[in-house]
Protein backbone atom coordinates (compact mmCIF):
# COMPACT_ATOMS: atom_id res chain seq x y z
CA UNK A 1 0.00 0.00 0.00
CA UNK A 2 1.31 3.39 -0.94
CA UNK A 3 1.80 6.07 1.71
CA UNK A 4 -0.15 8.54 -0.35
CA UNK A 5 -3.11 6.38 -1.43
CA UNK A 6 -5.71 5.30 1.08
CA UNK A 7 -8.79 3.18 0.62
CA UNK A 8 -10.36 4.98 3.56
CA UNK A 9 -11.09 8.73 3.31
CA UNK A 10 -9.40 9.43 6.63
CA UNK A 11 -7.97 12.78 5.59
CA UNK A 12 -11.44 14.21 5.21
CA UNK A 13 -12.57 13.22 8.70
CA UNK A 14 -13.31 16.24 10.92
CA UNK A 15 -11.63 14.52 13.87
CA UNK A 16 -8.53 13.81 11.81
CA UNK A 17 -8.34 17.40 10.61
CA UNK A 18 -7.99 18.61 14.20
CA UNK A 19 -5.47 15.97 15.16
CA UNK A 20 -2.33 17.81 13.91
CA UNK A 21 -3.28 20.88 15.94
CA UNK A 22 -4.07 18.95 19.11
CA UNK A 23 -0.92 16.88 18.80
CA UNK A 24 1.05 19.97 17.86
CA UNK A 25 -0.02 21.64 21.11
CA UNK A 26 0.80 18.52 23.14
CA UNK A 27 4.19 18.20 21.45
CA UNK A 28 4.78 21.89 22.13
CA UNK A 29 4.22 21.27 25.85
CA UNK A 30 6.37 18.14 25.75
CA UNK A 31 9.19 19.96 23.98
CA UNK A 32 9.13 22.73 26.57
CA UNK A 33 9.26 20.18 29.37
CA UNK A 34 12.03 18.20 27.72
CA UNK A 35 13.94 21.39 26.98
CA UNK A 36 13.68 22.41 30.62
CA UNK A 37 14.72 18.94 31.74
CA UNK A 38 17.76 18.98 29.48
CA UNK A 39 18.74 22.47 30.63
CA UNK A 40 18.42 21.39 34.23
CA UNK A 41 20.59 18.36 33.52
CA UNK A 42 23.19 20.59 31.91
CA UNK A 43 23.00 23.03 34.79
CA UNK A 44 23.48 20.27 37.35
CA UNK A 45 26.51 18.95 35.51
CA UNK A 46 28.03 22.41 35.33
CA UNK A 47 27.44 23.06 38.98
CA UNK A 48 29.09 19.83 39.91
CA UNK A 49 31.99 20.45 37.53
CA UNK A 50 32.33 24.05 38.69
CA UNK A 51 32.61 23.17 42.34
CA UNK A 52 34.74 20.10 41.82
CA UNK A 53 38.38 20.84 42.70
CA UNK A 54 37.65 23.73 45.05
CA UNK A 55 37.67 24.14 48.81
CA UNK A 56 37.15 27.05 51.15
CA UNK A 57 39.07 27.33 54.38
CA UNK A 58 37.75 29.69 57.00
CA UNK A 59 40.05 30.83 59.84
CA UNK A 60 38.18 32.62 62.62
CA UNK A 61 39.65 35.84 64.06
CA UNK A 62 40.57 35.83 67.72
CA UNK A 63 40.74 39.50 68.88
CA UNK A 64 42.90 38.44 71.77
CA UNK A 65 45.72 37.49 69.44
CA UNK A 66 48.00 40.15 68.07
CA UNK A 67 48.41 40.76 64.36
CA UNK A 68 51.93 39.35 64.21
CA UNK A 69 50.92 36.01 65.70
CA UNK A 70 47.84 35.99 63.51
CA UNK A 71 50.04 36.49 60.44
CA UNK A 72 52.40 33.70 61.50
CA UNK A 73 49.48 31.32 62.04
CA UNK A 74 48.00 32.25 58.67
CA UNK A 75 51.31 31.51 56.95
CA UNK A 76 51.54 28.22 58.84
CA UNK A 77 47.99 27.34 57.76
CA UNK A 78 48.77 28.14 54.12
CA UNK A 79 51.96 26.11 54.30
CA UNK A 80 50.01 23.20 55.71
CA UNK A 81 47.32 23.50 53.04
CA UNK A 82 49.71 23.74 50.08
CA UNK A 83 51.79 20.87 51.46
CA UNK A 84 48.75 18.61 51.52
CA UNK A 85 48.85 16.12 48.62
CA UNK A 86 46.23 16.90 45.94
CA UNK A 87 46.06 20.62 46.64
CA UNK A 88 47.28 22.83 43.82
CA UNK A 89 47.15 26.31 45.28
CA UNK A 90 45.78 28.45 48.08
CA UNK A 91 45.16 32.19 48.18
CA UNK A 92 43.87 34.48 50.88
CA UNK A 93 40.95 36.78 50.04
CA UNK A 94 41.89 40.36 50.92
CA UNK A 95 39.85 42.23 53.51
CA UNK A 96 38.66 44.74 50.92
CA UNK A 97 37.52 41.95 48.65
CA UNK A 98 35.61 40.33 51.49
CA UNK A 99 33.93 43.59 52.34
CA UNK A 100 33.00 44.15 48.72
CA UNK A 101 31.40 40.73 48.55
CA UNK A 102 29.49 41.32 51.76
CA UNK A 103 28.29 44.77 50.76
CA UNK A 104 25.15 43.54 48.94
CA UNK A 105 24.12 41.69 52.09
CA UNK A 106 25.31 43.94 54.93
CA UNK A 107 25.09 47.35 53.30
CA UNK A 108 27.60 50.03 52.27
CA UNK A 109 28.84 50.53 55.82
CA UNK A 110 30.16 47.03 56.07
CA UNK A 111 33.68 48.36 56.71
CA UNK A 112 32.39 50.27 59.71
CA UNK A 113 30.66 47.33 61.33
CA UNK A 114 32.22 46.14 64.50
CA UNK A 115 32.48 42.61 63.17
CA UNK A 116 35.67 40.62 62.93
CA UNK A 117 35.52 39.02 59.51
CA UNK A 118 37.18 35.58 59.31
CA UNK A 119 40.10 35.00 57.04
CA UNK A 120 38.98 33.15 53.92
CA UNK A 121 41.37 31.00 51.92
CA UNK A 122 40.36 29.85 48.42
CA UNK A 123 41.91 26.46 47.72
CA UNK A 124 42.25 24.80 44.34
CA UNK A 125 42.64 21.05 44.28
CA UNK A 126 43.16 18.35 41.74
CA UNK A 127 39.55 17.32 40.96
CA UNK A 128 40.61 13.69 40.82
CA UNK A 129 42.44 13.80 44.12
CA UNK A 130 40.88 12.42 47.27
CA UNK A 131 41.65 14.68 50.21
CA UNK A 132 40.86 13.76 53.78
CA UNK A 133 38.99 16.93 54.73
CA UNK A 134 38.45 15.87 58.34
CA UNK A 135 42.16 15.31 58.80
CA UNK A 136 43.00 18.63 57.13
CA UNK A 137 40.51 20.43 59.37
CA UNK A 138 41.95 18.73 62.44
CA UNK A 139 45.46 19.79 61.57
CA UNK A 140 44.36 23.34 60.74
CA UNK A 141 42.51 23.57 64.05
CA UNK A 142 45.77 22.79 65.76
CA UNK A 143 47.15 25.98 64.19
CA UNK A 144 44.00 28.16 64.35
CA UNK A 145 41.28 26.96 66.66
CA UNK A 146 37.87 26.71 65.04
CA UNK A 147 39.13 26.42 61.48
CA UNK A 148 36.57 25.16 58.97
CA UNK A 149 37.18 23.33 55.69
CA UNK A 150 34.24 23.34 53.32
CA UNK A 151 33.97 21.60 49.98
CA UNK A 152 30.43 23.00 49.54
CA UNK A 153 29.09 19.45 49.46
CA UNK A 154 25.98 20.24 51.47
CA UNK A 155 25.15 23.24 49.36
CA UNK A 156 25.69 21.32 46.12
CA UNK A 157 23.68 18.36 47.40
CA UNK A 158 20.73 20.60 48.24
CA UNK A 159 20.96 22.39 44.93
CA UNK A 160 21.21 19.14 42.98
CA UNK A 161 18.33 17.65 44.91
CA UNK A 162 16.25 20.66 43.94
CA UNK A 163 17.27 20.34 40.28
CA UNK A 164 16.55 16.61 40.24
CA UNK A 165 13.12 17.27 41.70
CA UNK A 166 12.46 19.76 38.92
CA UNK A 167 13.65 17.21 36.38
CA UNK A 168 11.40 14.52 37.80
CA UNK A 169 8.47 16.92 37.66
CA UNK A 170 9.25 17.76 34.02
CA UNK A 171 9.51 14.05 33.17
CA UNK A 172 6.20 13.34 34.88
CA UNK A 173 4.54 16.12 32.91
CA UNK A 174 6.01 14.75 29.68
CA UNK A 175 4.56 11.33 30.51
CA UNK A 176 1.16 12.93 31.14
CA UNK A 177 1.30 14.85 27.89
CA UNK A 178 2.34 11.76 25.92
CA UNK A 179 -0.49 9.81 27.53
CA UNK A 180 -2.90 12.58 26.51
CA UNK A 181 -1.53 12.38 22.95
CA UNK A 182 -2.03 8.61 22.88
CA UNK A 183 -5.57 8.99 24.23
CA UNK A 184 -6.31 11.53 21.50
CA UNK A 185 -5.04 9.16 18.81
CA UNK A 186 -7.13 6.33 20.25
CA UNK A 187 -10.23 8.52 20.25
CA UNK A 188 -9.69 9.72 16.67
CA UNK A 189 -8.92 6.19 15.47
CA UNK A 190 -12.02 4.77 17.07
CA UNK A 191 -14.11 7.55 15.57
CA UNK A 192 -12.59 6.74 12.18
CA UNK A 193 -13.39 3.06 12.60
CA UNK A 194 -17.01 3.86 13.42
CA UNK A 195 -17.43 6.38 10.60
CA UNK A 196 -15.86 4.13 7.98
CA UNK A 197 -17.36 0.85 9.14
CA UNK A 198 -19.15 0.24 5.79
CA UNK A 199 -15.93 0.67 3.81
CA UNK A 200 -14.00 -1.45 6.27
CA UNK A 201 -16.59 -4.19 5.85
CA UNK A 202 -16.14 -4.05 2.06
CA UNK A 203 -12.37 -4.26 2.47
CA UNK A 204 -12.78 -7.31 4.68
CA UNK A 205 -15.16 -8.95 2.20
CA UNK A 206 -12.74 -8.52 -0.68
CA UNK A 207 -10.04 -10.21 1.39
CA UNK A 208 -8.27 -7.49 3.37
CA UNK A 209 -6.39 -8.60 6.45
CA UNK A 210 -6.91 -6.66 9.67
CA UNK A 211 -3.38 -5.35 9.38
CA UNK A 212 -4.12 -3.96 5.88
CA UNK A 213 -6.87 -1.84 7.42
CA UNK A 214 -4.72 -1.00 10.43
CA UNK A 215 -1.96 0.18 8.10
CA UNK A 216 -4.25 2.83 6.63
CA UNK A 217 -4.90 4.26 10.08
CA UNK A 218 -1.21 3.93 10.98
CA UNK A 219 -0.09 5.89 7.94
CA UNK A 220 -2.64 8.60 8.56
CA UNK A 221 -1.76 8.88 12.27
CA UNK A 222 1.94 8.99 11.49
CA UNK A 223 1.47 11.70 8.86
CA UNK A 224 -0.69 14.03 10.92
CA UNK A 225 1.34 13.45 14.08
CA UNK A 226 4.55 14.26 12.25
CA UNK A 227 3.04 17.49 10.94
CA UNK A 228 1.76 18.41 14.38
CA UNK A 229 5.01 17.33 16.00
CA UNK A 230 7.16 19.45 13.72
CA UNK A 231 4.94 22.49 14.25
CA UNK A 232 4.86 21.96 18.03
CA UNK A 233 8.61 21.45 18.32
CA UNK A 234 9.40 24.47 16.18
CA UNK A 235 7.09 26.62 18.26
CA UNK A 236 8.64 25.30 21.46
CA UNK A 237 12.16 26.07 20.23
CA UNK A 238 11.04 29.53 19.18
CA UNK A 239 9.43 30.06 22.58
CA UNK A 240 12.55 29.00 24.46
CA UNK A 241 14.76 31.02 22.16
CA UNK A 242 12.49 34.02 22.60
CA UNK A 243 12.54 33.68 26.37
CA UNK A 244 16.33 33.49 26.33
CA UNK A 245 16.52 36.55 24.15
CA UNK A 246 14.10 38.44 26.36
CA UNK A 247 16.02 37.53 29.49
CA UNK A 248 19.37 38.43 27.98
CA UNK A 249 18.05 41.81 26.87
CA UNK A 250 16.26 42.53 30.07
CA UNK A 251 19.56 42.94 31.87
CA UNK A 252 17.95 44.18 35.06
CA UNK A 253 16.38 41.89 37.58
CA UNK A 254 17.63 38.69 36.06
CA UNK A 255 21.13 39.91 35.38
CA UNK A 256 21.28 41.63 38.77
CA UNK A 257 20.12 38.51 40.56
CA UNK A 258 22.58 36.40 38.64
CA UNK A 259 25.33 38.84 39.37
CA UNK A 260 24.34 38.78 43.03
CA UNK A 261 24.58 35.02 43.05
CA UNK A 262 27.90 35.16 41.29
CA UNK A 263 29.23 37.76 43.69
CA UNK A 264 27.90 35.83 46.62
CA UNK A 265 29.60 32.77 45.28
CA UNK A 266 32.87 34.64 45.38
CA UNK A 267 32.72 34.79 49.12
CA UNK A 268 33.41 31.10 48.74
CA UNK A 269 36.52 30.07 46.91
CA UNK A 270 37.55 31.71 43.70
CA UNK A 271 36.34 28.71 41.77
CA UNK A 272 32.80 29.23 42.91
CA UNK A 273 32.97 32.50 41.11
CA UNK A 274 32.53 30.31 38.07
CA UNK A 275 29.29 29.04 39.57
CA UNK A 276 27.76 32.45 39.16
CA UNK A 277 28.77 32.57 35.53
CA UNK A 278 27.40 29.08 35.07
CA UNK A 279 24.09 30.18 36.53
CA UNK A 280 23.86 32.99 34.07
CA UNK A 281 24.93 30.79 31.18
CA UNK A 282 22.83 27.82 32.16
CA UNK A 283 19.67 29.82 32.33
CA UNK A 284 20.31 30.80 28.73
CA UNK A 285 18.62 28.18 26.55
CA UNK A 286 21.09 28.19 23.69
CA UNK A 287 24.15 27.66 25.81
CA UNK A 288 22.29 25.21 28.04
CA UNK A 289 21.85 22.54 25.39
CA UNK A 290 24.51 20.37 23.82
CA UNK A 291 24.35 19.28 20.16
CA UNK A 292 22.98 15.92 21.33
CA UNK A 293 20.20 17.70 23.15
CA UNK A 294 19.33 19.52 19.94
CA UNK A 295 19.26 16.17 18.12
CA UNK A 296 16.91 14.84 20.81
CA UNK A 297 14.64 17.85 20.36
CA UNK A 298 14.67 17.43 16.58
CA UNK A 299 13.80 13.73 16.95
CA UNK A 300 10.81 14.50 19.15
CA UNK A 301 8.28 14.85 16.27
CA UNK A 302 9.46 11.54 14.82
CA UNK A 303 9.17 9.82 18.19
CA UNK A 304 5.67 11.19 18.70
CA UNK A 305 4.69 10.19 15.15
CA UNK A 306 5.94 6.63 15.72
CA UNK A 307 4.08 6.49 19.01
CA UNK A 308 0.89 7.69 17.32
CA UNK A 309 1.36 5.13 14.55
CA UNK A 310 1.74 2.25 16.99
CA UNK A 311 -1.21 3.50 19.05
CA UNK A 312 -3.41 3.64 15.96
CA UNK A 313 -2.35 0.14 14.94
CA UNK A 314 -3.04 -1.26 18.38
CA UNK A 315 -6.43 0.49 18.52
CA UNK A 316 -7.54 -0.77 15.11
CA UNK A 317 -6.47 -4.36 15.65
CA UNK A 318 -8.04 -4.46 19.08
CA UNK A 319 -11.28 -2.78 18.01
CA UNK A 320 -11.75 -4.86 14.85
CA UNK A 321 -11.07 -8.06 16.74
CA UNK A 322 -13.67 -7.16 19.33
CA UNK A 323 -16.24 -6.14 16.75
CA UNK A 324 -16.05 -9.31 14.64
Amino acid sequence: MSWRRSDLPLRADPATRFLPWILGFLVYLSALMIGCGLMIEQMAERWQAGLAGNLTVELPIDPAIDAKTRGERLNAAIDLITATPGISSASVLEQAELERLLRPWLGDNVDQLDVALPTMIAVTTDPKAIIDLADLQLRLSAIVAGSQVDNHGNWVDDALHFLRTLQALAAFLVVLVVAAAAATVIFVTRTGLAVHQPVIEILHLVGAQDRYIARQFQVQSFRVSLIGGVIGTLLAVLTMGGLTLALSHQGTAFAGASQGIAEQARILPAATDRLGRFLVQSLSFGSGLTPWHWVAMAALPLVIACLAMLTARWTVLRSIHRAM
Partner: protein, 239 residues
Protein backbone atom coordinates in the same frame (compact mmCIF):
# COMPACT_ATOMS: atom_id res chain seq x y z
CA UNK B 1 -16.28 -26.83 -3.53
CA UNK B 2 -19.23 -25.83 -1.38
CA UNK B 3 -21.06 -28.13 0.97
CA UNK B 4 -23.94 -27.20 3.30
CA UNK B 5 -25.27 -29.75 5.77
CA UNK B 6 -28.31 -29.01 7.91
CA UNK B 7 -27.47 -25.33 8.04
CA UNK B 8 -29.79 -22.80 9.66
CA UNK B 9 -29.68 -19.00 9.43
CA UNK B 10 -30.75 -16.84 12.33
CA UNK B 11 -30.16 -13.20 13.19
CA UNK B 12 -29.36 -12.77 16.86
CA UNK B 13 -31.85 -14.56 19.05
CA UNK B 14 -34.66 -14.22 16.52
CA UNK B 15 -36.39 -17.07 14.67
CA UNK B 16 -34.62 -19.03 11.96
CA UNK B 17 -34.79 -17.44 8.51
CA UNK B 18 -33.71 -20.64 6.80
CA UNK B 19 -33.47 -24.17 8.17
CA UNK B 20 -32.27 -27.60 7.14
CA UNK B 21 -30.23 -26.30 4.23
CA UNK B 22 -28.24 -29.07 2.62
CA UNK B 23 -26.72 -28.83 -0.81
CA UNK B 24 -23.40 -28.92 -2.53
CA UNK B 25 -21.92 -26.96 -5.43
CA UNK B 26 -19.51 -28.78 -7.68
CA UNK B 27 -16.48 -26.92 -8.98
CA UNK B 28 -17.26 -25.17 -12.25
CA UNK B 29 -21.03 -25.38 -11.80
CA UNK B 30 -23.50 -22.55 -12.52
CA UNK B 31 -26.52 -22.05 -10.30
CA UNK B 32 -29.35 -19.60 -10.08
CA UNK B 33 -30.49 -18.87 -6.54
CA UNK B 34 -34.17 -18.13 -6.87
CA UNK B 35 -36.94 -17.31 -4.48
CA UNK B 36 -39.47 -14.68 -3.64
CA UNK B 37 -38.36 -11.31 -2.39
CA UNK B 38 -37.46 -11.64 1.30
CA UNK B 39 -37.18 -15.42 1.08
CA UNK B 40 -33.59 -15.35 2.31
CA UNK B 41 -31.47 -15.28 -0.86
CA UNK B 42 -29.20 -12.54 0.47
CA UNK B 43 -28.88 -14.31 3.83
CA UNK B 44 -27.80 -17.50 2.09
CA UNK B 45 -25.27 -15.53 0.07
CA UNK B 46 -23.92 -13.97 3.29
CA UNK B 47 -23.17 -17.46 4.54
CA UNK B 48 -21.40 -18.20 1.28
CA UNK B 49 -19.20 -15.12 1.33
CA UNK B 50 -18.39 -15.59 5.01
CA UNK B 51 -20.09 -12.44 6.24
CA UNK B 52 -21.94 -14.37 8.94
CA UNK B 53 -21.65 -17.74 10.61
CA UNK B 54 -24.44 -20.34 10.47
CA UNK B 55 -26.67 -20.70 13.54
CA UNK B 56 -26.26 -24.46 13.25
CA UNK B 57 -24.92 -26.93 10.74
CA UNK B 58 -21.77 -27.46 8.70
CA UNK B 59 -20.47 -25.25 5.94
CA UNK B 60 -17.49 -26.52 4.02
CA UNK B 61 -15.83 -24.09 1.61
CA UNK B 62 -12.89 -25.12 -0.56
CA UNK B 63 -12.41 -28.13 1.69
CA UNK B 64 -12.34 -26.08 4.90
CA UNK B 65 -14.95 -26.25 7.64
CA UNK B 66 -15.67 -22.55 8.18
CA UNK B 67 -16.49 -23.13 11.86
CA UNK B 68 -12.91 -24.13 12.54
CA UNK B 69 -11.30 -21.28 10.58
CA UNK B 70 -9.14 -18.89 12.50
CA UNK B 71 -9.76 -15.20 11.96
CA UNK B 72 -6.53 -14.66 10.07
CA UNK B 73 -7.45 -17.48 7.67
CA UNK B 74 -10.65 -15.77 6.49
CA UNK B 75 -9.07 -13.21 4.10
CA UNK B 76 -7.34 -15.90 2.04
CA UNK B 77 -10.66 -17.70 1.59
CA UNK B 78 -12.52 -14.49 0.84
CA UNK B 79 -10.04 -13.65 -1.90
CA UNK B 80 -11.22 -16.78 -3.70
CA UNK B 81 -14.78 -15.48 -3.62
CA UNK B 82 -16.05 -12.65 -5.80
CA UNK B 83 -19.23 -10.94 -4.67
CA UNK B 84 -21.58 -8.66 -6.60
CA UNK B 85 -23.72 -6.97 -3.97
CA UNK B 86 -27.28 -6.00 -4.61
CA UNK B 87 -26.52 -2.46 -3.46
CA UNK B 88 -23.12 -2.53 -5.26
CA UNK B 89 -21.18 -1.43 -2.17
CA UNK B 90 -18.75 0.62 -4.18
CA UNK B 91 -16.37 2.86 -2.26
CA UNK B 92 -17.65 6.29 -3.08
CA UNK B 93 -14.45 8.29 -2.69
CA UNK B 94 -12.45 5.96 -4.94
CA UNK B 95 -12.44 6.20 -8.72
CA UNK B 96 -13.88 3.43 -10.87
CA UNK B 97 -10.35 2.20 -11.51
CA UNK B 98 -9.42 2.17 -7.83
CA UNK B 99 -12.65 0.38 -6.89
CA UNK B 100 -11.97 -2.42 -9.29
CA UNK B 101 -8.28 -2.49 -8.39
CA UNK B 102 -9.06 -3.01 -4.70
CA UNK B 103 -8.95 -6.84 -4.59
CA UNK B 104 -5.71 -6.87 -6.57
CA UNK B 105 -4.07 -4.27 -4.35
CA UNK B 106 -5.15 -6.15 -1.25
CA UNK B 107 -3.67 -9.29 -2.79
CA UNK B 108 -0.40 -7.37 -3.24
CA UNK B 109 -0.08 -7.28 -7.05
CA UNK B 110 2.27 -4.83 -8.75
CA UNK B 111 0.70 -1.49 -9.60
CA UNK B 112 1.60 -1.74 -13.30
CA UNK B 113 -0.12 -5.13 -13.61
CA UNK B 114 -3.11 -3.89 -11.67
CA UNK B 115 -3.61 -0.94 -13.98
CA UNK B 116 -3.31 -3.11 -17.09
CA UNK B 117 -5.83 -5.73 -15.90
CA UNK B 118 -8.31 -3.23 -14.53
CA UNK B 119 -8.24 -1.09 -17.66
CA UNK B 120 -8.86 -4.13 -19.84
CA UNK B 121 -11.77 -5.32 -17.74
CA UNK B 122 -13.38 -1.90 -17.48
CA UNK B 123 -13.15 -1.59 -21.24
CA UNK B 124 -14.84 -4.95 -21.57
CA UNK B 125 -17.78 -3.87 -19.39
CA UNK B 126 -18.07 -0.60 -21.30
CA UNK B 127 -16.54 1.74 -18.74
CA UNK B 128 -13.30 2.57 -20.55
CA UNK B 129 -14.24 6.25 -20.59
CA UNK B 130 -14.98 6.33 -16.88
CA UNK B 131 -11.74 5.08 -15.33
CA UNK B 132 -11.27 8.12 -13.10
CA UNK B 133 -14.95 8.80 -12.47
CA UNK B 134 -16.35 8.47 -8.99
CA UNK B 135 -19.19 5.96 -8.56
CA UNK B 136 -21.66 8.71 -7.67
CA UNK B 137 -21.22 10.22 -11.13
CA UNK B 138 -22.12 6.93 -12.84
CA UNK B 139 -25.58 5.68 -13.66
CA UNK B 140 -27.12 2.73 -11.81
CA UNK B 141 -26.26 0.38 -14.65
CA UNK B 142 -22.70 1.63 -14.83
CA UNK B 143 -22.29 1.20 -11.08
CA UNK B 144 -23.57 -2.34 -11.37
CA UNK B 145 -21.06 -3.14 -14.09
CA UNK B 146 -18.39 -1.60 -11.92
CA UNK B 147 -19.41 -3.82 -9.00
CA UNK B 148 -19.30 -6.85 -11.26
CA UNK B 149 -15.88 -5.87 -12.55
CA UNK B 150 -14.59 -5.62 -8.98
CA UNK B 151 -16.03 -9.06 -8.20
CA UNK B 152 -14.44 -10.80 -11.16
CA UNK B 153 -11.12 -8.92 -11.48
CA UNK B 154 -9.23 -11.45 -9.39
CA UNK B 155 -10.76 -14.43 -11.23
CA UNK B 156 -12.37 -15.92 -8.15
CA UNK B 157 -13.05 -19.62 -7.75
CA UNK B 158 -16.56 -18.83 -6.57
CA UNK B 159 -18.58 -15.90 -7.90
CA UNK B 160 -21.69 -14.83 -6.00
CA UNK B 161 -23.98 -12.26 -7.58
CA UNK B 162 -26.97 -10.80 -5.79
CA UNK B 163 -29.47 -9.51 -8.35
CA UNK B 164 -26.66 -8.50 -10.75
CA UNK B 165 -29.01 -7.50 -13.55
CA UNK B 166 -31.53 -5.67 -11.42
CA UNK B 167 -30.50 -2.18 -12.48
CA UNK B 168 -29.53 -2.67 -16.11
CA UNK B 169 -31.54 -2.92 -19.29
CA UNK B 170 -32.06 -6.29 -20.95
CA UNK B 171 -29.18 -5.84 -23.38
CA UNK B 172 -26.64 -5.06 -20.69
CA UNK B 173 -28.16 -7.76 -18.48
CA UNK B 174 -27.63 -10.36 -21.15
CA UNK B 175 -24.09 -9.18 -21.73
CA UNK B 176 -23.34 -9.49 -18.01
CA UNK B 177 -24.79 -13.00 -17.99
CA UNK B 178 -22.52 -13.90 -20.89
CA UNK B 179 -19.61 -12.56 -18.83
CA UNK B 180 -20.60 -14.85 -15.98
CA UNK B 181 -20.87 -17.77 -18.39
CA UNK B 182 -17.43 -17.02 -19.78
CA UNK B 183 -16.01 -17.03 -16.27
CA UNK B 184 -17.88 -20.24 -15.58
CA UNK B 185 -16.37 -21.85 -18.66
CA UNK B 186 -12.95 -20.87 -17.32
CA UNK B 187 -13.71 -22.85 -14.16
CA UNK B 188 -15.35 -20.34 -11.85
CA UNK B 189 -18.30 -21.65 -9.87
CA UNK B 190 -21.12 -19.14 -10.24
CA UNK B 191 -24.18 -18.50 -8.11
CA UNK B 192 -26.56 -15.80 -9.35
CA UNK B 193 -29.36 -14.78 -7.01
CA UNK B 194 -32.28 -13.36 -8.95
CA UNK B 195 -36.04 -13.15 -9.06
CA UNK B 196 -35.96 -12.48 -12.81
CA UNK B 197 -37.80 -15.51 -14.22
CA UNK B 198 -37.11 -14.38 -17.75
CA UNK B 199 -33.39 -14.56 -17.10
CA UNK B 200 -33.63 -17.91 -15.34
CA UNK B 201 -35.67 -19.42 -18.15
CA UNK B 202 -33.39 -18.08 -20.85
CA UNK B 203 -30.28 -19.70 -19.39
CA UNK B 204 -30.56 -23.39 -18.80
CA UNK B 205 -28.71 -23.60 -15.49
CA UNK B 206 -29.34 -25.47 -12.29
CA UNK B 207 -31.30 -23.74 -9.61
CA UNK B 208 -31.32 -23.47 -5.86
CA UNK B 209 -34.87 -22.59 -4.94
CA UNK B 210 -35.68 -21.09 -1.58
CA UNK B 211 -39.15 -22.27 -0.63
CA UNK B 212 -40.82 -22.44 2.76
CA UNK B 213 -37.66 -21.53 4.64
CA UNK B 214 -35.39 -24.12 3.10
CA UNK B 215 -33.44 -24.69 -0.10
CA UNK B 216 -34.37 -27.15 -2.84
CA UNK B 217 -32.34 -28.00 -5.90
CA UNK B 218 -33.84 -27.94 -9.35
CA UNK B 219 -32.30 -28.97 -12.65
CA UNK B 220 -34.20 -27.79 -15.72
CA UNK B 221 -32.55 -30.58 -17.68
CA UNK B 222 -34.28 -33.22 -15.63
CA UNK B 223 -37.35 -31.17 -14.81
CA UNK B 224 -39.60 -33.89 -16.05
CA UNK B 225 -38.32 -36.06 -13.24
CA UNK B 226 -39.47 -33.46 -10.76
CA UNK B 227 -37.81 -31.51 -8.02
CA UNK B 228 -35.69 -33.15 -5.43
CA UNK B 229 -34.09 -31.90 -2.30
CA UNK B 230 -30.35 -31.52 -2.28
CA UNK B 231 -29.87 -33.05 1.17
CA UNK B 232 -28.47 -36.25 -0.28
CA UNK B 233 -24.94 -35.81 -1.64
CA UNK B 234 -25.50 -38.68 -4.04
CA UNK B 235 -28.53 -36.89 -5.41
CA UNK B 236 -26.46 -33.70 -5.72
CA UNK B 237 -23.89 -35.51 -7.79
CA UNK B 238 -26.63 -36.86 -9.99
CA UNK B 239 -27.97 -33.36 -10.51
Amino acid sequence: MVLFEDVAVRYGTGPSILENISFSLAPGSFHFLVGASGAGKSSLLKLLYLAMPPAVGLIDLFGRNVATLRRQELPALRRRIGVVFQDFRLIQHLSALDNVALPLRIAGLREADIRKHVTELLSWVGLADHLQDLPATLSGGQQQRLAIARAVISRPSLLLADEPTGNVDDGIGLRLMYLFEELNKMGTTVVVATHNDHLVNRFNHRQLRIEHGTVRAFDPGVAQRGQRQYGNPAANDAV
